[in-house]
Symmetry: C2
Amino acid sequence: LKVFFLVSLYTRWPVSMSAMNKRVVLAEHPSGVVKVDCMRVEEVPVSPPGDEEVVVEVTLLGLDAFIRTMMDGSAAFHGSTKIGDPLVAFGVGIVTARGASVKELEIGQRVTGVLMAQTVATVPAAKVKAARDGVSDAEHLHLLGLTTGLTAWAGVNCVSKRPEAGEVAVVSGAAGGVGSIAAQLCRAAGAKVIGVAGGERKVAFLRENLGVDGAVDYKRDIDTQLDELAPDGIDFFFDNAGGEILDAVLFRLRPGARVVICGGASQYNGNLGVGTVQGPKNYLKLAERGASM
Amino acid sequence: LKVFFLVSLYTRWPVSMSAMNKRVVLAEHPSGVVKVDCMRVEEVPVSPPGDEEVVVEVTLLGLDAFIRTMMDGSAAFHGSTKIGDPLVAFGVGIVTARGASVKELEIGQRVTGVLMAQTVATVPAAKVKAARDGVSDAEHLHLLGLTTGLTAWAGVNCVSKRPEAGEVAVVSGAAGGVGSIAAQLCRAAGAKVIGVAGGERKVAFLRENLGVDGAVDYKRDIDTQLDELAPDGIDFFFDNAGGEILDAVLFRLRPGARVVICGGASQYNGNLGVGTVQGPKNYLKLAERGASM
C-alpha cells in the first residue's frame, strides 16, 4: 500500500450503465503508513443527476501521492477527506446521464475531472470538462494530467531556470507519475539526469525504461551513490521526496543551482500536517552556493 | 558574550607604532554558547614585515556573526580557526612598516582587510587595500563592509525580486550589522518592514532608531506577534536567524513570496557543522505558495 500511494497507478473499470457505484471510502484517518483498514470498499446505488449534474461511468482513475496528504485529519495538507467520503482522485469517464439544465455535455461524451475513487461519479457538470480527441485516457491522467505531467512540465520549465546541456539534474520519486515525466523532460533539455527511487525494481525501471544517466536507490546509502554519480555536484533538483535525499542534494549543490520543490512524499506518512516534517538541515547551503529553492 | 557575536561591535584601539601586539586567540573550540574560556588575550612582539608584507596598526575591528561559525572544530562552516590563532575579523588600520618589495602601499596609509582580532597585524600587502577618502573607519566596516552593508544590499536587491511598495518585508537579526541595513533598504524600497530581534532593548532600537513599521521580539511568542503585525501574510523575508522565526514566516508566505537566506544565527551555537541544524519544517509552503528561498 505504500507503493500504491507513491506511484500513480491506473485502474481500468468496466464501462456500462451501472445501477450501483463501487467506491473506496476513508474508514479511518491513518497514523503513519496507510493500512488496509483505513479504507473500505462499498457498493451504493448510483445517485441520479441533479439539475446541473452529470453521471459519469469512470473508465480510468489516477491515484497520486497527494491523496495520502488528504487522508489525515483536520490538519491535512491539501484539505481533509472526511470519514465515509470517497478518496479524492482524478479520472476519465463517459457521461451516461445528465440533468435537465446541462447543455454543454452530451450522453456518451468522454470527460475528465475530479471523479473521486469510484466507478460511477455523479458530479456538477461544471466540474468536468470534455476529454480531447486523440488523447487516450492514460495520457489525460498521466502526460497531460494536472497532478502529473503538467506539474512536471511546469516544474522543469517555469519554476526556475530549466536545466541545460552540461548540467547535472537529479529527480527524486523518478519512478512516479510526476518524476518519470520530469526526468524525461530534463533529459530532453540536454542535462545529465540522475533518477532517485526506492528498491531494485524501480531503479531498473529508471535505467531501462526512462534511460536516465544514473539511478540512486534511496534504500541504500544515498551519499555514496551521489558521490559516484555526481562527483562535481548538482545543478538542478526536482524534488518529490524531501527528507534525506533533499539534504544529500543540498549538500552537493553547485553555485547557482536550483531546487524545485514539488512534493515531500517521504513526509506524507504522518509527518505532514500532523507530526513534524523533517526540514532540510542543509538549507544554509542555499546561501553558501548562491542557489535557490 | 552571546550578544558579542550576534551584533557587529566596533572596538577602537589606540593608534601608535607599537612594539607589542595584543590579540584575542582561540583557546578552545566552544561547545554551544561561547564562554570566556574559549578565548585568551595574549601579548606578543609585533612580527616584522616580510618582503611582501605590511604592518598595520589596527584602528577599528568589526566582529560579525560568521566569526562564531569559524570557532568550531574541523567541521566549521566557513573554515576552522585553529587553537592559538587569532579570531578572524575585518578591520581598518594604518600602515606603519612595509617590506622591501611593497610599492603600492605607503607608510601612514589607511587600509582595510581581514586584519584578525588584534592590535597590530602583519599581513601580505596583497591582502589589504587602500581605504577610501571621505569614508570613515566605521563606514568601511559597516555600511560598506563585505560582511555587513554590501551583504545586506545584495540580499535585498540582487538575490531575488526586491520588496516593493504594498509588500510586507520581514528582517530577522534586524538589530545586527547586516539586518539593520537590510531593514532600512527594505523601507527605502517602499515595503512595510517588520524587524525581528531578541529582547526589549533591541526591539526598542528597531522601533526608535530604524523606524520599522513593526517589531517582533523572538523571545516572546512569535506567532502571536506575526499574526498581529502581518495578518495578510509576508512577501519578502531577509533571514539572518533561521530556526523558529524562519518556520513562522514560511507558514505565512504570500503567493510569490521570496525568502533570502543570509544566515542562521540561531543555529551557530553548536548546531551548524557539529550538531544538527534545525531545518525549516514548513519548507513545503514554498511549493504551495509558489515562493522561493
